[in-house]
Symmetry: C2
C-alpha cells in the first residue's frame, strides 16, 4: 500500500506539506494541493484507516467504558488498566479509555455507533446496567468487568465478593473481634445498584448474622473527609466497635486520620482492614495498612482475552470467572482489646 | 438521515438483527442479510460515522496521550481529565484517553494515522519530546499540557514551576527553615527530560543558591516504599534538614510514614510541603498535608478550548499560558526547630 512518503516523493513536496494539505491545519496553495491530489490518485493512496476500516469493519481498538474516572483510579483499577492495555498490545489491539458517565447513555451510544471500537470492556457494572441493552442494540461485542444481577448469558470476570468478605471476617474474628463495622462506598452507589457495594453489603450482613454478630454498615463518599466524618459518627453511635472493614480507599485514610486525631492507637484500639485495595495503597499509610488486594492484573488479562475471542469469533466458551481478593496482613490489624471509648 | 430503526422497519426485522448483520457478532441468514442490505440501499443508510468521517474528516474525538497511566492518576491529573472531558462535552466533542507509552512512537503513530481523533492533548511532556515531530508529520492538531524546551511555535498550557518553587521556599524560609531538601520524581524521569522534574530541580537550585542555602535533592520512584528509603537515606546523610519540599505524591506519604516510624514529629521535627498536589490528596494524611495545588481544572479547560479552536480554524492566538500552584497551608508545615537528629 502506498504511504504518505510515496505521495510526498511523487508530488515533489515535503511530508509536512502533504499532511497539511490533508488536514487543513496549515494553509497549502491550490497548486500544491492539486499536485498532491494527483499523486494520491495515481498511487491509490487512502488517507488513513478510516477508509480501511470501512472496508474491513475492524479498527483494532478496544474501548474501556469507565464512568467514574473523576473519582480516581484506585490501585485495583490501575493494575487493571495496565494489564488490559498490555494484553491488548500483545494481541495487536489498542486499549482506549472512554471517561463517559451519562445516565441516559447518549454519549456512550454516540461513541459506540461511530463504530470506532471493535469491542468494549464495561467497568463499574450495576446490577441492572443500561449499557448491556445499549451494547446489544448497537451490536458491539463486550465483556463485563463486574456482573449484572443475572449475568449468565453475558461474558464477565469479577471479584468473588462472597469469599473475600468471608476471608476478611475470618481474619478479624480469629483476632477476637466481635464488634465489626463495614465502611463502604457511597449511599448513591448503593442506590444505583453498583455491584461491589450491593454484594459486599449483602455478604457482610449474611456472614455477621450467621456468626450471631450485629451488622453495622456506614456508607460514605470517596473522599478522606467523608471517611473522617463517618468514623466520628461511628465512634459516637457504636463505641464498642473494635474493627473496621473498609471498601473505599480514600475514606479509609480519612478514617485512620480521624482515629489518630482522637488519640486512638491502630491496631491496639481499632483494627482496620481494607478490602478491594492493594499493598501499594497500603504502603501509603503509617502504620502500614492490612489489605485484601483485588485481582486487577488477572481481571485485565481475562477480560481482554475474552473480548478479543468474541471479536475474532474464536471464543469457544463464555467467560464466567470470579476471583477473590488476597489477604496481605500488615500493621493495622491486631488482637481485639477493649471497646472503643473505654480507657483502661 | 435514515436510522437503524428505519432500516429494521423496512426490512421487517428486529433492531438487533440489523445490528448483528452489520457487525457479524452473531450469525444472520443470507436471506435476512440480503433484505437488510436492500433496505439500507433504498434508504441510503450509512452504517456509522466512519463513513461520515470519511466525508467530513471529523470524528469529534479528542485523544489525550497519557503515557504513564500505570503510575496512577495524581490528584492533579484527575482534575485535569475531569475538566478536559467536561469542556469537550460542552463543545460537542468526546475526550478519550490513550494509555500509550512507547518510546519509539509506533503505537502512537498507528493510532494517529488511523485518523480517529481530530486532535490530541499531549500529557507528560519532555523537553525534547518525539511526539511533537510525530504529530506534525501526521498532521494532527495538538496542544501540550506541559512544554518542550523551546515551545514558542506550539500551543501549550503548563504549571509555572518557577513561581511555584519560589512561593514554596518563601513559605518555608518565613518559618525559619534553612536546611531544606527537595524530594522529586524518579531519576529516570530526570534523565528522560520530563518537564516538571527538570524545571523544578533547576528552580530549586537557583532559588536556594540565591539565598545562600545548600542544595539537597533526592530523586525517587513514584511509590511509598521509594519515599521511605529516600527519607531514611536523607536522615543519615543530611541530619540537619528541617523541611522537605516534595513533588511526588506516593513518595511523600512514604516519607511521612518513615519519619513517624523514626519517632519524628511532623511538623515539630520536620516540615513537609508537597507541591503539584492537591488539598484532596493532602486530606489523606494525618496530620493533614500542606500542599501547593496544581491548576488541573484550568489547564484542562484551556487545553481543550485551544485544541478545538485549532481544529475548527477559529484560533486567533496561540495558547502560551503558565499558571502557578496555589498554597494551601495545613498541619505539616511549622516553625523550624532543632536539626533532625538532635534531641533537646
Amino acid at each position: 500500500m502506498a504511504t504518505m512518503h510515496d505521495v510526498a516523493n511523487l508530488a515533489g513536496v515535503s511530508l509536512s506539506t502533504v499532511s497539511y494539505a490533508l488536514t487543513g491545519v496549515r494553509p497549502v496553495s491550490e497548486k500544491t494541493r492539486a499536485r498532491i491530489q494527483a499523486a494520491m490518485d495515481q498511487l491509490g493512496y487512502q488517507r488513513n484507516a478510516i477508509a480501511r476500516s470501512l472496508a474491513s469493519r475492524r479498527t483494532h481498538i478496544l474501548a474501556m467504558l469507565f464512568p467514574a474516572i473523576e473519582r480516581g483510579l484506585s490501585g485495583t483499577a490501575l493494575e487493571f488498566v495496565t494489564s488490559a492495555a498490555e494484553t491488548a498490545r500483545e494481541r495487536g489491539y489498542h486499549l482506549v479509555l472512554w471517561p463517559v458517565n451519562d445516565q441516559e447513555g447518549h454519549e456512550t451510544r454516540e461513541l459506540l455507533q461511530q463504530g470506532l471500537a471493535d469491542g468494549a470492556l464495561v467497568m463499574e457494572v450495576r446490577l441492572d446496567d443500561p449499557r448491556v441493552a445499549l451494547l446489544h442494540e448497537v451490536g458491539t461485542p463486550f465483556t463485563l468487568i463486574g456482573r449484572t444481577e443475572d449475568p449468565d448469558t453475558l461474558h464477565y470476570a469479577d471479584i468473588d465478593f462472597e469469599t473475600t468478605v468471608r476471608d476478611a471476617l475470618d481474619h478479624l474474628t480469629a483476632l477476637g473481634h466481635r464488634d465489626i463495622a463495614l465502611l463502604s462506598h457511597s449511599r448513591a452507589s448503593l442506590d444505583a445498584g453498583y455491584g461491589p457495594t450491593v454484594r459486599v453489603g449483602a455478604a457482610f450482613e449474611r456472614y455477621m448474622t450467621e456468626r450471631g454478630l450485629s451488622v453495622v454498615v456506614r456508607h460514605c463518599d470517596e473522599s478522606a473527609d467523608a471517611g473522617r466524618i463517618a468514623t466520628a459518627g461511628l465512634a459516637a453511635s457504636h463505641p464498642r466497635v473494635t474493627a473496621l472493614m473498609t471498601m473505599n480507599d480514600a475514606a479509609t485514610f480519612g478514617a485512620m486520620a480521624e482515629l489518630l486525631e482522637r488519640g486512638k492507637r491502630i491496631p491496639d484500639d481499632m483494627s482496620v482492614l481494607s478490602i478491594v485495595s492493594s499493598p501499594r495503597v497500603g504502603a501509603l499509610s503509617h502504620p502500614r495498612l492490612t489489605t485484601m488486594s483485588a485481582p486487577g492484573t488477572e481481571l485485565g488479562r481475562l477480560g481482554v482475552t475474552s473480548l478479543i475471542a468474541q471479536i475474532e469469533g474464536t471464543g469457544a466458551t463464555a467467560l464466567h470467572t470470579l476471583i477473590p481478593c488476597r489477604l496481605d496482613v500488615q500493621s493495622t490489624t491486631g488482637p481485639a482489646r477493649l471497646p472503643m471509648n473505654h480507657t483502661p
